[in-house]
Structures are given as C-alpha cells and as structure tokens.
Symmetry: C2
Subunit: 585 residues, 2 copies
C-alpha cells in the first residue's frame, strides 16, 4: 500500500472524477417540477367553466427537456374528493412502468391531499404530451405539452429556424361527472359533439375570430383584446424562415384536420419518430397522435394566414378552431385576405387514408423483426350489456378496470385481483364486420394478455359495424410503454393469407397511436421488451370509459422498485396492511 | 364421566340453548345491508340533475332497526374517481370509532371500486339519519333516514297510533364540484341560496303544488300525477289518531321551520333523546337536528292540511317546501281550504330562541355532572386567509383536514400527520364579538383537542360578527361520538361569572347538535367517555368546507380492532407498506 505513488493516486482520482462527469453528461439533467392539480374557474372558449388545472393554469405547464434527462414531477392532489394520476403519453417508461400514470394498471390513484413522485427518463426526443388517465379527467382539462429536444451534440435530421407548438383538444360545457353518468346509464346518453375545439387550451364559443368578414358566414366576430383566457395564441413568424410546428391532439373525441392558408405542411415527425418528409396541404390528426411539420414562411409578408382545425370522421357540429399565422411584418390583428381553409368533408375517408398511408419511417429508422411470435386479432364492436347498457368490446369483452393496479397484483401473484382467464386472441370466423352484431350482448372482463418477454407481437385491429346499420367509427388505438410499427391498413375483414403479403416490412412508421378506419383493419408489430403492464386502448375517452381497451403484461417479474405508495389501494394495499399487522401483533 | 346422568346432560344442553337464545335477544339482531353508491340521473325538484344515490335510489334506503341491533353496511364505491364515506349521524359508535364515517378523522375515504364494511351497534332508540362526510357529498344527495325503535319489551314514554317520517334537505342545481371550487376560490364565490327545499328528497322548482289557488301567489301549479320523482310524498292519516312525525334535517345550509295547518306539534324527542313534551304551532330545525312530534288528527276530516317548510335565519330566496297531510276521508289531491302556513319571518330570532329554550330533558333522563374538568371556549369567526380567501375559523384556526385519518395517526403515534401544537382553548379577552374582526387574517390548522378519558368537558360556543358589519349567522354545531347537555344559551359575549350561574343543571336536554344564535353563545357539557377521534363542527356543509370545525381525541390508546383498510391512505398507509416491505425484503 505504502508503495503506491502519489501521482498514481492523483491519476486514479482524476479518472474517477472524469468517469462521474462523463456519466452525468450521459445521464442528462434531473429536472424537478412541483405541480398541484386542482379545479379552477377558467374560460377555455370564452364561457366560464370548472376546469382541471395544474398550478392554477390550463392547460398545464409545458415540460421542455432534453433526451437523456430525468424528470421528477412532485404531483400533489389538491382535488377535494377525487383521486388523480397523470400519464406521460409517448414516453416508454423504460425501467419505470410504475410511473406510466394509468390508474388501475400502473398505480393507485393519488388520494386527495397526497403527493406522488413521478420519476422517469426521457429516452427519446420528440413531441409528446401528458394527460389524466383516471375516469374522464383528460376531458376535464388535465393535460399539457411535453417536448423533448435531441440530446446535446445530436442533430435533428432536418433544419428549422424557429419552433411553434399547438396542443389540440375538444371541449364540452357539461362536466365530465355528468358525462360519465350519462355514458354509464341505461339507456346510455351520449356526450354529443364538443362545444368547441381548443388550440393550446383556447377556443371561441358562440363567436368567431373570423366573424362574418368573408361574407359566407353568419358568425358574430369575437370581441377579444388578446389578454382573455380564450383569446387565440397567435403564431408569430418572420418571413422566409422555416418553422417546426409541433402538433399534438389530446381530444376526448374529435378526429381533427389542420391546415394553414397558403402554406404547405412538410411532415417530418410522428409520435416522437422521424418520418420520410412529405408535403400536404392539410393534416389529419387523431386523438393520441403527435406530428411535427415544417412550414416555410415564403408567402406574401404583407398578409397574415389562417390556421384552422376542423372535425373529421363524425358529422361535425363544432365550429372550426382558428388562430393566425402572423408574419411579423403585419399587425397581429390584421385578418387574412382569404377565408380560413375549409376542412375536408367529414366522411371523405379516401382523403384520410391517403394522408395516413404517406407516413413512412425515415431511412435509417429501426426496422421491424421480419417475423412474429404471436398474432392477436382484436375485433372492435359496439354492444349491449346487462339488458341495455351500451358498451364497446374487444373480441366481445368490454374492459372494466379493477380497483387493484395490475402491476402490483401480477408482481405479487394475487389470485383475486382480476380474471385469470386469458382473453380471446381472435373472433369467430363467421363474424360479419360489415353488419351490426347478430348477438349484440357482451360481458365485462378484466383479463390480461400476457406477452412473452422480448417476443414479437403482431396485433391486427379489426373494425366492424356498430350497433346501427351502416355505421362504423374511427378508433385511434394507443399503446403504452412501446412504439409499434404500422405494417399496413386495409378495408374489410383482415385475411392473413391475402393481406400479410402486403405488409410493409421495409419502412413502416414507428408510432404509439394508430387509427382503424371504418370497416377496416390495421396491422401493428412490436417487441414486448419493456417489463411492465401496459394499456392498449382506443384514445377516444368515452370509448375507453365504455370498455374499449385491453391490457398487456410482459416480464413483470423483472420489475423492481415499484414505490409502495403506487400500490396502497385495493388488494395490494390489503396485502401490505395485513403483512404489517401480522408482524406487529 | 360415565356417572353423569343422561337427564343432567339434557338439562345442561337446554340451559346452554336458553343462554344462547337469551344472549341473542339481548344482543339484538345483526342486520345486513349491501349498498352501492353511484351518481344517478334524478329529478329531486322536477329538474333533472346528477345526484349521489344509493342502490339507484335518492334519498338512500331507510335503515329501520331496533335498539341493540348491530348493522353491517357493505358499502361499495361505484363512483368513477371519487372516494366516499358515510357518517351515521347521532349514532355514538361506542367501541367502533372507526365506523363513524368521517374522512380524514375516522377513516380513509373508500376508493372507487372498493368495498368497506361499516359494522356498529345501535345502542339507543331514536330518529337519526346518515350522510356523506367527505368534501360536500352530503350536498350532492348522499343521505337517508336511520330509525331505531325501542328494544323489544321496552316502551316509548308516549303513545301513538301511527308513524310518519320527513327527512328535510335543500337542493342546488349547480354541482357540488362547482360549489367547492367557488368556495375555495379567491375571491370566494358563495353558493347562494338553494333552488328548492326537499321533503324526503322531493321538491318542486319553478312550480308549486299550491299554485295560485289561494289568490295571493303567482306560482304556477305543478302538473304532477304522483308518480314523478319530484311528486310530494303525501302523509296519509286516519282521523282522530295520534301520529308520531319524525323530522330530521340534513340541509347543506338552510335552517328550517316546519308547520302543519291547523295542527299542533307536540315535541317529544330531540336528536334521539326524549324531551319534556311541549306543544307548538311550528318548529325550528337546524341542519343536523332531528325531532319527533306528536300530532293529533282531530281536525275537520273533510279537509286536507298543508305541511310547509320554509327558511329561517337567512333572507329566504327559496320557496317553501310543501306536502299534504291527507285525512283518508278525502282524496289526496284535494287542496286544503286555507293556504300553507306562513313561515315566521327569517330574522325573528326571538321566535327561534323561544322554541329552542323550550326543549328540556324528560324527567328521568341522564343528568349532567355538576362540575366540569375543563372548559374550552370556541370563538366562531369569519376570516380572510393568504391574501383574500374567505374562511371560517375557531379561535382563529381554520380547520384543514389532513390526508391521514387522525384515528390512525394518533393510535400509531405518527409525528408528521397533523400539527402537534394544541389549538387555543380560548380567545383574547378584548375581542369584540359585536364587530367585524379588527385583524381578519387567520391561518389554517389541523391540531387536536386531546381530552382526558372520562373527564367532563364544557364547551362554550361563542358567536361573533362576520366580516361585514351587522352580520352574524346561525351555526348548528354537531358533535360526533357523544350526546352533550345543552346548559344554556345567551346573547353577547359569554361571561363565566355572570352566565355560569344561569346554567340549567337540572333538566338540560341531551343532544348531538346545538345552535349558536347570532351574536350569542351556547354552553355544552359532555363526558369524554368514548375512546376515539371525533369531529365537532358547524353542520352547514360549506361552513365546514371553509374550516368551521375542531377535532377532539380521547382515549385513543383504548381503541382496538381498527380495520386496516380504514387506514390504508396517507402516512398510516405508508407505515403499513413500509413495514410490510421491511419484512419482505
């Protein structure tokens, strides 16, 4: 020991310090956020209402961080009687499945007055958002943007001079409590179409910022000075620059289309993954999706231009959401010379499909395994239950979430927390997806699809006719904990021998949300490489409320360090208290 | 052994059977109830709304049992995101303080999807009720009647031929979630006066069952067939009989006055305790109180008579609640010849005091100890907090309940669950109760008054001027876990030397709720002989929400058998999970 030279020790120390520094650069920063969730009075669309806000704001604060950063959100529930959780939509939660923020799946809802620490790593740059995932609290206004920049020293595969952000949502005047009762009643009372569309939480009800300016509308012009909660957030730009416009949709129901007058949209990112750039005049975006588009401000700088958002896929009864692209050469209050872009007609599905199938992975993106280990076919149907309740079901099982989070009940091997019967992998061959169900009855269930760890899973989402003749709806399905490759879309019933050959295995886009078109199917592939329990569900919030989802579990035995607080309810809570009591008494 | 004769064995067996039978008679029956709490669409006042119901009913089912019975309520929370508890108002919960149903005090709120078993003994006959005790869920409609008959073989100290029951409440069209946000906002938004008064959950908004029949009203007559949810529950009687009319008030706000045209009301019971019978034309009833009155149907049997309920103590903006006393000699639809009894003018406090001071214990009732061990004087003030929030405070502390139930945190000696500083026993001598507070600022607190077990405690409730000049409100204070003797009422500031001499120690009424009149005081005495933690608070729900309450703890070390589920939240929940983890890892 005595022989070890002083310089050797110094060298060792220096090396250690470098190692630590190196590690800290690699690991990214830790970013702390302290959030209180509470109801606030707010006027999202110029009509005052009660909104679920964070730190007194609606929408919640934008999280901006760098790939590799760890974020810690110290979330305090300041609601009076409601639990709360927040889901970090698009973040895979590698190694932290308990931080996924899905009540009944990854954790117990946080009790009023209590604080929960979400701690997770942002592994990948991209445009994300966060939202409530308990009851219909997303619809109540619990959401915000989450934007992850590329790690230091890395570059995006495209250039831009500036950045703009639009978080899209839809808004009802009736409280979500009221909506939930209606959906759960017999007969079901549908929530109807939203009163307004919001861009960054701002919309205008019963008036329009375009007014009757273009002669073809009877709308009253809103009298807004710009400081109101419902005043549109204007997108300020300089001429002859390239802007990256980030767009995410956290709508409860509406499928949307966005267009900017006179400006092409060059799509470069979808759900946090780079795509082969392509230009469009308008962009379809479904609930749960996000995009980045590049726009070049190469139009007449003496004009401003409309940014318009309208409803697709359902007969729209909601006015367009509007804001302005303001060239800084003009006053922001100068109205564009032309009226807002017209949203393509709601049922022009050819237009939607044309857009969706243009989305392909950027060259160099991860490619899917060429084969799969297991294929799960999920038939989406609308059904009746217990003598009249309206439900959505998957392979004739309508998901009813249990009070004990799956992550805990699977980890601890509890036998009575949920149905241990495996849910069906397919549906009867004779089912006619073009017609209403012959037997519309369904049953509630909460079974789990257990996936072999690291196996490749194909999911074919099969759409069908709803309860009424000639009705088939759009459903955007969102997978937690993973991105999947979208191998293909098709019309009618999926036929493996015919359709599998057409799968795109070369450059399918990686996404976390994919739509099924009316009467169509969508084929996905993912690798079950993220130990945890993960929701896979229609992102339309009332549809999920009515049972439209399934649960995947993979490698739960590898999950460690679940905070006990995340499991202090239901049967895991009981397990803890019983164990504690046995050791105390 | 072989020498024991057969007849001796038979005798022993018979004796044992008799013993078991005898015990079972003495112990009373065990009555099971299986309840689901959920929101339902309901029209309490002919306007449809979302109401918190039990088993699809509003109000919840009436519990009818016999003194000595044990009730077991298997309560399942079918709400989507809200916790729930139920308080059994007037039941002392001897030996079962964990079943008192007060969130943050006796238990954790029951999580959505979970079931909690309330199991407690009905130790005393009387007219009681139950209601939610979390947030403002009582106001949302979570309540019902709880009627306990005298034990078999025992007799009431009065005779009657039949029985009628009226559970009184007030109803708002705005949701309690909205109301709560308003109360918690800065500036505070007051909930306003109720839209309607309900009798057994039935009222009429925007119409009257009396209509313009008597010429002095412009009300529209309600067109009701009788089957509607809002159709009044008519009180059917036979002529020349004596009826016991049970009346309880679970209003959120309104102090009420009840009268029956042409009929005297003979008061015989208050809050489950017999009182010296006295006759009145009308009866004041504050939130949290219950009465039994005897009525003799000795009026013209060819007529029906109005039962009317109106608002006292606040300038009424709510129409009278009405139903009919129907002599079975008539059609129930026959309107009385005279208009409904007029409610005494709202601020005729002399009338109220005259009624209240008539209430005296029936001879033979338990008498109070002649001396007390400790006197706690509680000044009730309206205050401002944190730069503008409006609060109510007691000795300048505004109660903010902690997330961990006191019963658990005290039992397990947790140090950080609530403030360990003793709350003040009195208020500054120079405080002028006739004027608004000189310094209106208050602070939030959650300290506990720890009472020596079996000690006699006097509480003097001292009213004062609110924030505005010349305003002092009525507050009905309700004590959990005990009845107290009401020793006296007085005007102005309580002066021990002057006022103590006037205490009624001979036949003060035993009650669980007592009112303080504007600018007045009320003196109570009780024996702290029920191990547990007990809320003592203004029964006006928005006042409690704004901090108007205190917490008493007594002999918690003697409390055993708290179900772990009751403590599976907050720091007790954490304690259990940590202990369990320590023993597992």
């Amino acid at each position: 020991m005595a022989k070890v030279s002083r310089s050797y020790i110094m060298m060792c120390m220096l090396f250690s310090i470098l190692l630590i520094l190196g590690h800290s650069v690699e690991a990214g920063k830790v970013r702390h956020f302290k959030w209180d969730v509470e109801y606030i009075f707010w006027s999202p669309d110029c009509e005052e209402n009660v909104v679920m806000g964070i730190n007194g704001q609606f929408p919640g604060p934008t999280i901006r961080a760098t790939a590799g950063d760890t974020v810690v959100i110290e979330l305090t529930n300041k609601l009076h009687t409601e639990g709360v959780v927040i889901h970090w939509h698009g973040i895979r939660q590698l190694g932290t499945p308990w931080a996924d923020g899905t009540a009944s799946i990854s954790q117990c809802a946080i009790n009023p007055g209590e604080t929960f620490y979400y701690r997770f790593k942002l592994d990948k740059a991209g445009t994300y958002f966060y939202h409530g995932h308990y009851g219909m609290q997303r619809s109540a206004g619990l959401y915000g943007s989450l934007i992850v920049d590329v790690a230091k020293g890395e570059k995006e595969p495209f250039h831009y001079d500036g950045e703009l952000n639009l978080l899209l949502s839809d808004w009802w005047h009736e409280s979500v409590h009221h909506q939930e009762v209606g959906l759960s009643s017999n007969p079901m009372r549908w929530i109807g179409e939203p009163q307004s569309l919001l861009m960054n939480g701002r919309g205008q009800y019963n008036c329009s910022i375009a007014g009757a300016h273009y002669g073809n509308s009877s709308s009253t012009k809103c009298s807004l000075r710009g400081g109101e909660q419902c005043a549109p957030k204007i997108l300020h730009v300089l001429p002859n620059k390239i802007y990256r416009l980030r767009i995410a949709s956290t709508t409860a129901l509406a499928s949307l289309n966005l267009a900017i007058g006179n400006h092409k949209l060059v799509v470069v990112e979808a759900d946090g993954n780079y795509v082969q750039p392509f230009a469009v005049d308008d962009l379809d975006i479904y609930s749960g999706e996000s995009y980045s588009v590049l726009i070049t401000t190469n139009q007449d700088p003496s004009n401003n231009y409309w940014v318009s958002v309208g409803v697709r896929g359902r007969e729209p009864k909601t006015p367009q959401g509007l804001t302005l692209l303001n060239y800084n050469t003009n006053s922001p209050s100068k109205l564009p010379t032309s009226p807002p872009p017209v949203t393509p007609i709601w049922n022009d599905y050819a237009h939607s499909k044309s857009f969706t199938t243009k989305i392909l992975a950027l060259m160099g993106s991860p490619q899917p395994p060429k084969t799969f280990h297991r294929r799960i076919t999920l038939l989406n149907t609308q059904n009746k239950m217990n003598g009249g309740y309206t439900k959505w079901a998957i392979n004739n099982v309508s998901l009813t979430l249990p009070p004990t989070p799956y992550l805990g009940s699977i980890k601890y091997g509890l036998k009575n927390a949920f149905s241990l019967v495996n849910p069906p992998e397919n549906f009867p061959n004779e089912y006619n997806v073009m017609k209403p169900p012959v037997n519309p009855n369904t049953t509630a269930g909460n079974g789990v699809y257990t996936l072999a760890i690291n196996s490749t899973v194909d999911v074919v989402l099969q759409n069908a006719n709803a309860l009424s003749e000639n009705v088939s709806e759009i459903h955007p399905w969102h997978l937690h904990g993973h991105d999947f490759w979208v191998l293909g879309y098709g019309d009618g019933k999926f036929d493996p021998t015919r359709d599998e050959r057409k799968f795109n295995l070369k450059n399918p886009p990686l996404r976390n949300t994919a739509v099924i078109f009316p009467y169509g199917w969508t084929a996905l592939r993912f690798v079950a490489d993220n130990p945890g329990v993960w929701a896979f569900h229609c992102h339309i919030e009332p549809h999920l409320h009515m049972g439209m989802g399934v649960v995947f579990a993979e490698g739960v035995r590898h999950v460690n360090n679940i905070p006990n607080q995340a499991l202090a309810c239901g049967l895991t809570g009981k397990m803890f208290t019983t164990r504690a009591a046995n050791h105390t008494n």
